[in-house]
């Protein structure tokens, strides 16, 4: 391990340092605000390192290191920035919520930071074992966080997450073993060579089975059909900020590693698994949207909505896999990255608004939002706007994201998948608008206003404005996304 390796690892190491500091700080002070502020400001440190690395990568190209287990390229850094931004917003948005906990307020922040550490490593890992370890590092704190409320539902959520997480890890590990057994390497690059030389689908039946098992393992992370069963229960039971975190950061990290693994290791045989993802994408969208229709609990509704959105994002993955015509290579990948960013802003805005409202009313039901348009005008406006973005109506980030995704699908000759996607978006309007209707159309007896704290408002404001900005000026983020996928493509 050289100093250069340390430099490559600097953002995750800095984040781990901040996490440790938060734990220590919590021992000596009772002021939760201070702990929150330290964890928030501490994020600047990894962000600064990541920024420095971005500058180096910009001039010198991707840097591999740490015994060739990870690579720092723009793709990894894109996700590291995304994770850091999401964590910052989650910490801000959770301020109100954490105040409700009896104990372990400091640990809440520390756990959030530690799981973010796992996600940052995931984005950079290029070797199966380090991928697996990073994944576990992500999942374990999340399981604890899901159970944080320590009531019946929350405990159930934590246990369910832990068990299914272990289950999916087992699948993943078995898949990795098969791949290793055939190719003799855990390095993505070497696996790619072995697979390409195989001459059969995936090189050999063993790798085919391995690939499917790996897809299943990650499918759990990104809440893809048919591995979505845990989502509604965990989302409903977990503390709402954790749900927000799960739905955005965990999904983004899952996609990061899925994209890297499949596009690098199995890049040569992408046609073999492209159709698989296309079909799973269509099923995820349809199942998520249809199930969401009957939900009366807002968190369950948003849980099914994330399943549907996993489906939309998989449209881009499928488009990436199915041969893209010359001149538009990488369109599928960059649209996935853009959509993840847009989706992060949108979903966080929605969840923060839900936190702001339910914190006061204590009611997770959609009916409980009746008349909020009057009682909490700003929060309701952001919630309605982010739901409109989830439908994909302009001028929102969600619309631009879908435009790129479906554009990529059409380019890859997957018009049928684009059609399934747009029809699904139209269907989804039905249940999202039910919430909008509750906010503005339904009236409620009480006239009390629903106030919210400055921290939540700030988080709401940032994510809400992000949705609007990306909806009108998507070019900057799209530029970053395109730069990020360029390195991944050059490996093919």
């Amino acid at each position: 391990m050289t100093a250069h390796d340390l430099y490559l690892l600097a953002p995750p190491i800095a984040l781990a340092g901040v996490g440790g500091l938060v734990v220590l700080l919590d021992l000596v002070t009772r002021r939760t605000g201070l702990v929150a502020a330290v964890s928030l400001l501490g994020l600047l440190l990894p962000a600064a390192f990541a920024l420095a690395l971005w500058g180096d990568v910009n001039t010198g190209g991707a840097m591999a290191g740490v015994f060739d287990t990870l690579v720092v390229d723009k793709f990894a850094l894109f996700f590291q920035f995304l994770v850091l931004a999401v964590v910052a917003l989650v910490i801000l948005g959770a301020a109100d919520y954490v105040a409700r906990f009896q104990r372990y307020k400091g640990e809440f922040y520390a756990l959030v930071l530690f799981s973010a550490l796992g996600m940052m490593l995931l984005a950079a890992a290029t070797e199966l074992v380090s991928m697996y370890i990073s994944l576990e590092l992500t999942s374990l704190p999340l399981a604890a966080l899901a159970a944080f409320l320590r009531d019946e539902r929350s405990t159930e959520a934590g246990l369910k997450f832990l068990l299914l997480s272990a289950m999916s890890s087992a699948l993943l590990l078995y898949g990795m073993v098969l791949v290793y057994g055939y190719t003799g390497s855990t390095q993505l690059g070497e696996i790619a060579q072995a697979v390409a030389a195989g001459g059969q689908p995936f090189g050999s039946p063993a790798v085919l089975a391995g690939g499917v098992l790996i897809a299943a393992g990650f499918g759990f992370k990104i809440a893809m059909f048919p591995f979505q069963m845990w989502t509604p229960d965990v989302y409903e039971g977990a503390p709402t900020p954790v749900t927000a975190y799960l739905s955005v950061a965990s999904k983004a990290a899952g996609f990061a590693v899925l994209l890297r693994l499949f596009s690098t290791a199995f890049g040569a045989v992408s046609l073999d698994w492209g159709m698989l993802f296309a079909v799973l994408s269509a099923l995820s969208m349809t199942v998520g949207n249809l199930m969401a229709m009957g939900q009366s609990n807002i968190k369950r509704l948003l849980a099914y909505s994330t399943i549907a959105h996993a489906g939309y994002i998989l449209v881009g993955v499928a488009a990436m896999a199915v041969r893209e015509p010359a001149g538009s290579e990488g369109l599928g990948l960059s649209s996935v990255l853009f959509y993840l960013g847009a989706y992060a802003a949108t979903n966080l805005a929605a969840f923060f608004a839900v936190i702001a409202i339910t914190n006061r009313t204590g009611n997770d039901q959609v009916d409980g939002f009746a008349g909020m348009g009057k009682k909490a005008p700003v929060v309701s406006a952001v919630l309605a706007f982010s739901l409109v973005s989830l439908i994909g109506i302009p001028p929102t980030a969600g619309f631009m994201g879908k435009l790129y995704l479906f554009n990529a699908a059409v380019r890859a000759d997957l018009v049928w998948l684009a059609l399934v996607g747009v029809v699904n978006s139209a269907v989804s309007a039905y249940y999202y608008l039910r919430v909008v209707k509750a906010l503005y159309v339904s009236s409620s007896e009480s006239r009390a206003t629903v106030p919210s704290s400055p921290a939540v408002r700030l988080a709401l404001g940032v994510s809400g404005l992000g949705v609007l900005f990306l909806g009108i000026f998507p070019a900057p983020l799209l530029g970053l996304a395109e730069a990020a996928v360029a390195t991944l493509l050059s490996l093919r």
Partner: protein, 514 residues
């Protein structure tokens, strides 16, 4: 210039929002300190009144702007004018590209006119008035954007932007089964636009551009990934739903009936014109061959809409529902007019198509006026059930007089605008589609029947005791009525000022069929 036209209403909406917020802040400070009195200009009256004065101001400005656009359109030069063009989303080559031609300039004028009428029509809205005006203005911006966008992404953005304001207008300020109707409206439109999105992505794939002008000059479609007919119908579905054409019209009666007066005016006046505009601008201009191939389908759907709409209208007992069904009938004429273009190779007459365009304009003014009048009657008499009404002419002579005249315009009385448009449509179509046109012409008789019967049942007959207290139109109600009637009369008496513009607008489209 066009940027101002498109975004003035939106700026107005933001100003109303800002004003409300400012008032709240100042009041709150004044209340807590107990010494700073609210400044006079903020205290002028209850909040609703300030909001509506501001909305009025904005919509008058918007009308003036759109009149300026219409007048500054140089007919001698023709083509696209007042072009605003800038890069927008560079990676996908989407532009901020606005412009008007002879087809869109009159529709911009129509939108400006109806926007003002809608604001005045909601003068008496008390419930959440501020929001009402905000959504009305946002709606106007969206429609303006649709009529002036020349970039497909921009067009689509504005096309969808209109959904949420209209949804909220119906579901909050509507009546009856308002939530059901609002959702139905939204569901139909959003399904249509889903297909449009796929269509425009397919076009982008083969041409690499979202520029609607360039797409409209495409000589032939060789490297599409879908058959060109399929692409045509992806767009056609979206526009036919919006128009609405039989058999996808069912959202319209519900939405119209349950919408508030201003909502109905905008919906009938301009929103459904987006469908006709899209058909001409996209389906006919970009795919002339397919339009010619499937003209039989257009004329069949058109005749079906005309006749079905007319027959069903006769059976309605609800004033608004009745006018809504008559809209289906009249918008069917737009389809018939469009179907006439270039079907016979030697016929390159613009008459049918400019008739269709004119029909959109006149229907916007006439039906807008009818919905206004009916809305006022409903506000005063508190019922729209025709058998319950009667003898209102004695109580509201002004409204009665204009209802008669709007009705006459609707049934195509010479001298009023409806006649000119219908004449042009039938003239342009008859030589191409003899029998179908003959059947559609028969609808005029039906229209005369249901309009006159309605006017007679509502306005005339013995005055009823229970309507003794009912008054005539107030000034705020009278202004839009008179404005719209002037427009109807102006087109009816001297149609050339409008038909010349439309003809210049459709000329390049017709030449694509040569």
């Amino acid at each position: 210039m066009l940027t101002a036209v498109v975004f003035t209403p939106l700026a107005g909406a933001l100003a109303i929002l800002l004003l409300a917020w400012l008032t709240k802040v100042i009041r709150w400070q004044g209340g807590s300190a107990r010494r700073k009195p609210t400044p006079g200009w903020l205290k002028a009256g209850p909040r609703t009144q300030r909001a509506r004065s501001l909305a009025l101001l904005v919509s008058v400005a918007e009308l003036l702007l759109s009149v300026t656009v219409f007048l500054s359109y140089d007919l001698a030069q023709g083509g696209l004018q007042l072009i605003t063009r800038a890069d927008w989303i560079v990676p996908i080559n989407a532009q901020y590209y606005l412009g008007v031609d002879g087809l869109s300039a009159p529709l911009v004028l129509l939108n400006g006119l109806l926007g003002l009428c809608a604001v005045l029509a909601s003068w008496n809205v008390r419930r959440r008035a501020k929001e009402h005006f905000i959504w009305l203005l946002v709606l106007q911006t969206a429609v303006m954007g649709v009529f002036t966008s020349l970039d497909f992404v921009l067009f689509f953005v504005f096309w969808e932007l209109e959904l949420i304001p209209m949804y909220l207008l119906i579901s909050i300020w509507g009546s009856g089964r308002k939530e059901y109707s609002a959702l139905k409206f939204l569901a139909f439109t959003i399904f249509g636009s889903a297909f449009m999105l796929v269509g425009l992505l397919v076009l982008y794939f083969s041409t690499g551009t979202f520029d609607m002008v360039a797409l409209g000059q495409q000589k032939e479609w060789s490297n599409l990934i879908l058959p060109v007919q399929v692409v045509f119908f992806l767009f056609f579905t979206a526009f036919a739903i919006k128009l609405p054409s039989w058999p996808v019209h069912t959202w319209l009666p519900d939405a119209h009936t349950d919408a508030p007066t201003a909502g109905s005016v905008m919906l009938a006046g301009v929103l459904i014109k987006m469908g006709g505009y899209g058909l001409i601008r996209v389906c006919v201009t970009m795919f002339p061959e397919v339009a010619r191939e499937y003209a039989w389908l257009l004329v069949a759907l058109g005749v079906m809409s005309v006749m079905y709409g007319a027959v069903v209208t006769m059976r309605q007992n609800d004033l608004k529902r009745m006018i809504a069904y008559s809209s289906i009938s009249h918008m069917g004429l737009v389809l018939i007019g469009i179907s006439s273009v270039g079907v016979a190779a030697d016929r390159l007459s613009p008459v049918g198509l400019s008739g269709a365009a004119l029909q959109m304009f006149t229907h916007g003014t006439i039906t807008g006026l009818l919905f206004l009048l009916v809305g006022f009657v409903y506000e005063k008499a508190h019922t729209r059930y025709i058998p319950d009404l009667g003898g209102l002419a004695a109580r509201m002579p002004f409204l009665a007089a204009f209802l008669v005249m709007a009705g006459l315009a609707s049934l195509g009385l010479p001298g009023l605008s409806g006649f000119v448009a219908e004449l042009l449509v039938f003239l342009g179509t008859f030589s191409v589609w003899g029998w179908p046109t003959a059947i559609a012409v028969f609808s005029i008789v039906l229209t005369a029947g249901y309009i006159l019967w309605m006017v007679q049942r509502v306005m005339f007959g013995p005055a009823l005791r229970r309507y003794d207290h009912v008054g005539d139109a107030t000034l705020a109600e009278a202004i839009p009525v008179v404005l719209l009637f002037i427009a109807i009369l102006a087109v009816g008496v001297y149609p050339a000022w409008l038909t010349d513009v439309f003809t210049s607008g459709v000329a390049p489209i017709i030449s694509r069929f040569g």
